[in-house]
């Protein structure tokens, strides 16, 4: 179910540059990178007790991060989006949402970001030296390229 946009706007009123809108994805609150953690803290305090998904998208200009939050009590879901420059640093939110522990590691590793405040900021899925695979400038080899090696 979708939360009321006015409720989310009220919740994040103290933060500058917040835009809340209903999109095809659902109700999305877009915040600046600096406001992402305060926004998530406020949202959790409002009853969104579970971070059920976290991922990043390489838009071609920067990395867009999407937090998917759920309140079981309110039976609603909310998306929070923020953006970070290539090679930038994101603040871990594991102490608010422990479910972010592994998804944050994965996103940082596969999109070439740095993690701040994470208790175990190691790679999750790949070994040292593997490039950030989900970046658009990292290409996968075609069959012809592999055969030609």
């Amino acid at each position: 179910m979708l939360p009321a946009i006015s409720d989310i706007e009220r919740l994040l009123a103290a933060l500058p540059d917040v835009a809340v809108a209903e999109e095809l994805l659902g109700v999305v609150a877009r915040v600046s990178l600096a406001d992402a953690v305060p926004a998530l803290v406020a949202i959790k305090a409002a009853g969104y007790e579970s971070l059920v998904d976290f991922d990043g998208i390489d838009t071609g200009e920067l990395i867009e991060l999407t937090y998917r939050l759920r309140s079981y009590a309110l039976d609603t879901e909310l998306y929070v989006k923020t953006s970070v420059a290539y090679g930038g640093t994101i603040e871990s939110v594991w102490y608010e949402y422990p479910s972010a522990l592994m998804p944050e590691r994965e996103t940082a590793e596969l999109l070439g970001l740095h993690l701040a405040g994470h208790p175990n900021p190691k790679r999750l899925l790949t070994t040292d030296g593997v490039p950030p695979l989900l970046r658009k400038d990292v290409l996968i080899r075609s069959v012809e390229e592999v055969k030609a090696r």
């Binding site: 994805l25 998917r68 996968i140």
Partner: protein
């Protein structure tokens, strides 16, 4: 039972001060070896990635004080195949094959989640019969998957017989799924717009024959394992994932419902034919390994109930909508999720209007269950580890993607 992350994280063995940013969670905060004076020197045991009880290639670093675990770290990635990256280079109708290789024991659900996400972007109306066939395929697959869990969970506790009986029933289910989709595991049956094929002649009768004995067999399974006092004494009270831990670690599926949280995507966000089906969502109370066992056994009974309803009420009509040979959905961003055998499987799909997805993120419930192990294992004995892992029913193919 605790209701918030703060309360939960405050009660772990090594959880004091957990609220402060930068202080690691219990499983990651290793006590320096031998510094606590009165205890033995701590050992770090490397469990996996080939350990038979780790259900795939999970590796765990376990720090023990004698027989007791003081910290655990889950190390994953051994099955990483880059499914999300590969999806960016596949056409929409070919991505089902990748989803099958995520959670390879219940591939139908992964295909279903992706198809739903693509359909949201395509604005295509899926025929009613396709919805029913999708639910039928999913529930058959859920039974097959839960039987694998049941059999291997018993193996973890030292039983052997129940595994053979479970495989007998799963074999019948795989025969049915093969007749339906042409494949035993990598189905590629549910595709954007509908399903690949209608029910073949004679399959309805085959499913009815299976159902005529399955309820009885399921009771036998339950008696064989759940009725065994040794099994009960080994799983009751261990691996408690209460409501607070389940919610703040993002758990879904039977692991969440065993903690008493009434959330099943099939009921809470109905999709396919589930709105038209009569079924119940079993819940646990304590959230221990026994509750997770009970919830999954009851889920099998409910799945069998649903399969009977789906066969009886299968509507007439086309099994797929008309979709172009090369699918180019509208540009946009959607999220779709289904209740898979292990919890909520979600697809975050971004399209730029071309024949390949711009980005596909695959949310597997096993990742969240695996990271919760770091919180719940401390305080248990080494012998409990395999049972706790087994009770969470994680699937490494889906975790690593």
């Amino acid at each position: 039972m605790t209701d918030t992350c703060e309360e939960t994280l405050g009660v772990g063995l090594l959880c004091e001060g957990q609220h402060d940013p930068g202080t690691p969670p219990a499983g990651l905060r290793r006590a320096p070896s031998g510094v606590d004076g009165l205890t033995t020197e701590h050992l770090i045991i490397n469990m996996g990635p080939q350990h038979p009880s780790t259900h795939g290639v999970l590796r765990m670093l376990i720090e023990v004080d004698g027989e007791e675990i003081v910290a655990a770290e889950v190390s994953v990635g051994y099955l990483h195949r880059g499914i999300e990256k590969l999806a960016e280079h596949r056409r929409y109708d070919a991505i089902g094959t990748l989803m099958d290789r995520g959670d390879y024991v219940s591939g139908m659900m992964g295909e279903h989640a992706f198809a739903m996400a693509a359909e949201k972007l395509m604005e295509v109306e899926v025929p009613r019969k396709a919805h029913w066939l999708r639910s039928l395929a999913s529930e058959l697959n859920r039974l097959a998957s839960h039987l694998v869990w049941y059999g291997t969970f018993g193996l973890d506790t030292g039983g052997m017989g129940q595994f053979l009986y479970a495989m007998r029933d799963r074999e019948a289910l795989l025969d049915i799924l093969e007749a339906l989709s042409g494949q035993r595991m990598m189905f590629n049956y549910i595709r954007p717009g509908g399903v690949v094929a209608d029910l073949p002649l004679g399959l309805e009768e085959k499913i009815r024959t299976f159902l005529s004995t399955f309820d009885m067999y399921l009771e036998e399974h339950d008696q064989l394992l759940g009725g065994n006092e040794i099994f009960q004494s080994r799983v009751k009270g261990i691996g408690v994932i209460d409501r607070g831990i389940a919610q703040c670690f993002g758990l879904t599926g039977a692991n969440l419902r065993a903690a008493g949280v009434d959330f099943d995507v099939r009921k809470a966000r109905p999709y396919a034919a589930y709105q038209e089906l009569d079924f119940e969502v079993p819940l646990g109370t304590k959230g221990d390994a026994w509750d997770r066992y009970m919830v999954r056994m009851e889920e099998m009974r409910q799945s069998a109930r649903m399969i009977a309803q789906l066969i009886d009420g299968m509507p007439e009509g086309p099994h797929t909508a008309k979709v172009p040979r090369v699918i180019r959905p509208n540009a946009g961003e959607v999220y779709a999720s289904v209740e898979s055998s292990r919890g909520e499987t979600g697809i975050h799909l971004v399209s730029d209007g071309t024949e390949h997805p711009y980005r596909m993120h695959y949310r597997g419930p096993s990742l969240y269950a695996a990271q919760a192990l770091e919180e719940i294992l401390p305080g248990h004995l080494i012998a409990d580890v395999v049972m706790i892992i087994g009770s969470t029913d994680i699937m490494l193919g889906e975790l690593d993607r």
